[in-house]
Structure formats: C-alpha cells, structure tokens
Amino acid sequence: MANASPVLSLSRRDGLGAYLVELWRRRHFVWHLAIGGIRARTSSTTLGLLWWMLDPLILGGVFLLVFGVILDVRRGDPAYIGFLLSGLFAFTYTRTTMMGGGNTLTANAHLIATQRFPRMVLPIASVVEGAVAFSFSLVPWFLIAGGAHGDWPGRYTVVLLPAFVFHTLFNLGLSLLIAQLVIPFRDIGNVVGHLSRIWMYMSPVIYPLDERLRNAPEALVQILQFNPMAAILGLYRTALLNHPSEAYHWWGSAAWAVGLVVVGAVTFRRMEHKLPRYLA
C-alpha cells in the first residue's frame, strides 16, 4: 500500500498490443463460454451431446430426401451424398456463427454492463462454439459419406486443416461484422437468417453451381465466382471427396479469411466502447 502505486486510467482505451494480450489472457473464458453454450443447449435433453451429431444427420437426411431423391439433383453421381453433406455441414457452421454473432452481444448485455473484459471474447466464443459443433458433424459425415466414398481418408485429407482454418477465420470476421451492425440496427438480426438461406442457395452447397449456371449470363457467373463460400467449399471437397482443387479455391479462401477477420476486428474494436450505450 505504498504511495507509489501504479495509476490505472479507466477512461483511456488500451492499445492494440495490450488488447490482444488481454484477449489471450481470457482464452479459458472463451473456451468455457463456448463449451457452456454447447452444453446448455442440450442439457435438458435425454440424448444430450449426441444431438450434436443427430442434428446434422437429420438435416442432411431432409436435404437428401428433397434434393437427392425428389428433385434428383444428383443425376446419377455416386458421390452426391458426400458432396451435399460436406457442403451442408460446412455451411451450417457459417450459418450458426452468423446467427451467434447477431445474438451474442444482446444475450450477454448484463455481462457487458458489469464486467470489464475485451468484448471480442463474446463473438469469438460463439465462433468456437460453432467450430466444435462442426467438428462433431464430421463424425456422421464420415459414417455416411466417407465410408461410401471409398478412398477416404486419402492423400488430400490434410487439406481439411487449412480449409478449416480459413473457414474459421472467415466466420470470425463475419461474426464480428454482424455483431457490431446488429447493435445499432437490431433489424439486421431478423434478416440474418434469410440472408444466410439465400446465400446457401447461391453457393455450391446442394448442387455444383457452375453446372447449374451453364445458361446464365456471363456477368452473373463472374459475380458468383466472388462468393467466398464457393472457394471454401472447394477446399473442403478437395479434402473430403478428392475433388481436384482449383487455384482460386486457395487464394480465394485465404484472401477472404484474412481480409474479413482484419476488417471485422479493427471495426469491432473501434465501436466496442460504444457498446454499453446501445445495450443499456
């Protein structure tokens, strides 16, 4: 209790370095929030954590029934099940982080009002939660599609790692952007679900898009080439289905991932101090 005690200034904002150090210090908090979210969602069910595999399984079954059997999108492609489910599960990861980004700040308003911590912890935790759920869904994917496809795991399986890293960074950037937009404009929260659904149909999730767009105008095809999900899903399919990867899958995924996470983090940090005003 000496007089020369250090002075802490609460009204001044931390520098970027200090912010990142504090964020790293809170990594266990991020993990506990994410795992807590996962457990909370299934805590009152009989099957518990099994739901994290059942959910994608049932979702995949519905899509297979509608698109694979009734609409017969597959047209005799034996690897269609693997194609559909890999796209669907990967896209579900993006979809849940979009929704999570929209919810996490308002859901934790009390925490934001009373505790001092880097607010980025919350969207990061929601992405981690989505990542864990996605990892769970790879188990049913392997059981259904991987076994049927024969050469899985193959030599391209290692591509799964960069695909997952790029995808996660991309989702994080997206989640940070949505989180900060939702706060002043709550309406965006209502639109996110619809946007993600449109996006899914505009991405090669259910069908290879280039094949579908053979008669479409050239300009539209070029616009859709910019779809970051097309590049990311391309990498996943290289890993899971031994599809040949195209160069733009790699640089597209990397550029989108890094670009979005940087833009998301910088803008989020700028608006972070305004957060309590909007949530109060």
Binding site: A40, A113, Q115, R186, D187
Partner: protein, 326 residues
C-alpha cells in the same frame, strides 16, 4: 368479447397513441424543468458545503461520528473521478430499429438524456462511500463509469492500486442451464480470474455459499436464494481492492444476510474500498463513512452520512421515522 368488462386499454389509432406519447413526454419534460429550477438553489448551497467537506480530510472525527463503519479510511485516494459526464441518446430507450434510427439520425438535435452530469469525486482507500438518490438519479450509471464498463463522454477516472475496481454483480456470466460448478468457473472468469485461481478457491466458494452437493445440479433448479448465495460467493471471493456494489447485499435468508454483512465488514477491514448504491438508507448510514447524494445526474452533496441523509430526507419530504420503516 365486446361486452366483457375488459381491463385492457381501449384500442388506439397510431395517431392517438403518438399524441399520448407526445403529451406524456411533454409533461415529463415540464416536470423535469420545474424540478431542476427548484434544485438549482439547493445545489449552489450544496456545492459550497461539498467543497468544505472535501477540504476536511478524512479524520477520526468522522470515524467517531459513524461508529458502525469498519476500519478507518486513509487519506490516499483510491479513485479520482474528474468531471464525468455520460449522455444517452434518447433513441436507445425506444425500441431501436432501422426506421427509427434513420429518423433519429435526422433529429440529432433532440436533447440527449444526461445520466451523469459533470460529477467529480474522490474515493479514499479504505473508505465506504454510499451513493443515494431517487430512481434515475444516475447512481448506477456513475458506478458503471467507475467500474470502467461504461466509458464516459467526457471526464476521467483514475484508479490507484494494482487492480481495476470490481463491480459486484450477482450472476454475471452465469448460465442457469449449467451446473453450479460450471457457473462458478464462468462467473469467476467473467470477473477476470484465471482458471488456476478458481481451482484454488473453488472449495471455499462452495463452502461459503453453503450449497454442498447441490453444486453439481443445474443452476436453474436452485431456489432464487440459493442462486443468489452462489452468485454472492463467487463475486465476493475475488478479494477485491475496490468493490462497487449496486443494491446487492440483501441476498439469501436471514443467516446468509448476516454472513454477507460480516463479509462486507471484513472486506472493509482489509483496507478494501467500497462504493455502494442503495435505497436502504438506514443500512448505508450505518455502514458508510461518507454519503454522496445524486439527483438528475448531478452530485448535490457529499459528506457525513447523518447530515447528508437528513438533507436528502427533508428534500424528499420524508420524516426520519417514516424512513426507518423500511
């Protein structure tokens, strides 16, 4: 449906509703203006007294005047707040939406709500400072600024010591669907503790809360008293240097209330500094070294508890006896 005697208000057209809202806002504004006018005189007097109170260093005199207050505050500052002002944009109070936001952007000249208006104060180490005032006086907002969770529009907060102030907030970070055990970790981490620190104090927390084996049950199955006890145990186990409290002490049953009050005394005795907001005037008088009275975002007066409390009561038009009843 129509002949059923309904307690619901009659259906209004949007125009009628808008007119009513406008009328209500107008009335509120007028009322506020009138009160402000009445207080200006009081404030001027108060400012003079406040200056006097500040000059008078924390001394034995005051400790003698407040026999129940634990320990003795030092003259070293723990928190120095200078000219704090916090304004809330009115649209945050309404349902925020894209349309309203667009309208609000056009009407930015709309007067913001000033929740904290140019408040300066110093909290000394080892001191218990109570903040009193009517609802909406800005007490909680001020506390949140001191906690560092709400950056002020203008002004500065400086904290002397090695940790930022801790806002004792019941159940911050808790998730009722998870077990008490997980909530201890979540709550502790939300408060900035590291996992090994929580591991170390986990048994103490459970023992203090008196939950026993219930700690592994989902927190949603707890009674509200049990939940509050666990939340209090987590919040208090941080051994904070500066503790900020917002109306949280009356938790649990009588036995736990006694225990929590003793813990507070102990915290104070350990040279902890406490700033608390409460409507329990009697308790604040007993517990605090000084009281600060806020109204409409302004700090009206700060000084010896008995003096400030009686001025506050006479301002409200409440006699001492009536105040004792709660």
């Amino acid at each position: 449906m129509t002949d059923e005697p309904s307690s619901k208000p009659p259906r209004l057209t949007p125009e009628e509703r808008a007119a009513r809202v406008a009328a209500r806002q107008e009335a509120r504004r007028a009322e506020r203006a009138a009160r402000r006018e009445a207080e200006r005189a009081a404030r001027q007097q108060a400012a003079a007294e406040q200056r006097a109170a500040r000059q008078q260093t924390v001394s034995q005199e005051r400790a003698a005047a407040v026999p129940a207050a634990a320990g003795e505050p030092s003259s070293e500052p723990a928190i120095v707040a200078r000219n704090l002002t916090v304004k809330f944009r009115p649209f945050a109070e309404r349902q925020p939406s894209l349309r309203r936001h667009g309208l609000a952007a056009l009407r930015r000249h709309e007067t913001p709500v000033v929740a904290v208006d140019d408040v300066s104060l110093t909290v000394f180490r080892g001191e218990a400072l109570g903040i009193i005032g009517s609802n909406g006086a800005g007490k909680t907002t001020l506390l949140r600024v001191l906690a560092g969770t709400l950056p002020p529009d203008t002004g500065e907060v400086e904290v002397y010591g090695t940790q930022p102030p801790t806002m004792l907030s019941l159940g911050a970070g808790f998730n009722r669907k998870l077990s008490g055990r997980r909530n201890v970790y979540l709550g502790g981490m939300a408060a900035g503790l590291l996992k090994p620190q929580i591991d170390e104090m986990f048994d103490d927390i459970v023992a203090y809360s008196g939950l026993g084996d219930a700690i592994d049950r989902p927190a949603g199955t707890y009674s509200s008293g049990m939940f509050a006890r666990l939340a209090f145990a987590v919040a208090i186990r941080r051994d904070p240097q500066i503790l900020l409290l917002d109306e949280v002490f009356a938790v649990g049953d009588q036995a736990f209330k006694k225990k929590s009050a003793e813990t507070m005394q102990q915290l104070l005795a350990n040279a902890g500094t406490i700033v608390m907001v409460s409507h329990g005037l009697a308790r604040l008088r007993r517990f605090c070294h000084r009281l600060a009275w806020m109204d409409q975002g302004r700090l009206i007066a700060i000084g010896a508890p008995d003096e400030i409390a009686s001025r506050y009561l006479s301002f409200l038009g409440i006699s001492e006896e009536e105040a004792q009843e709660d």
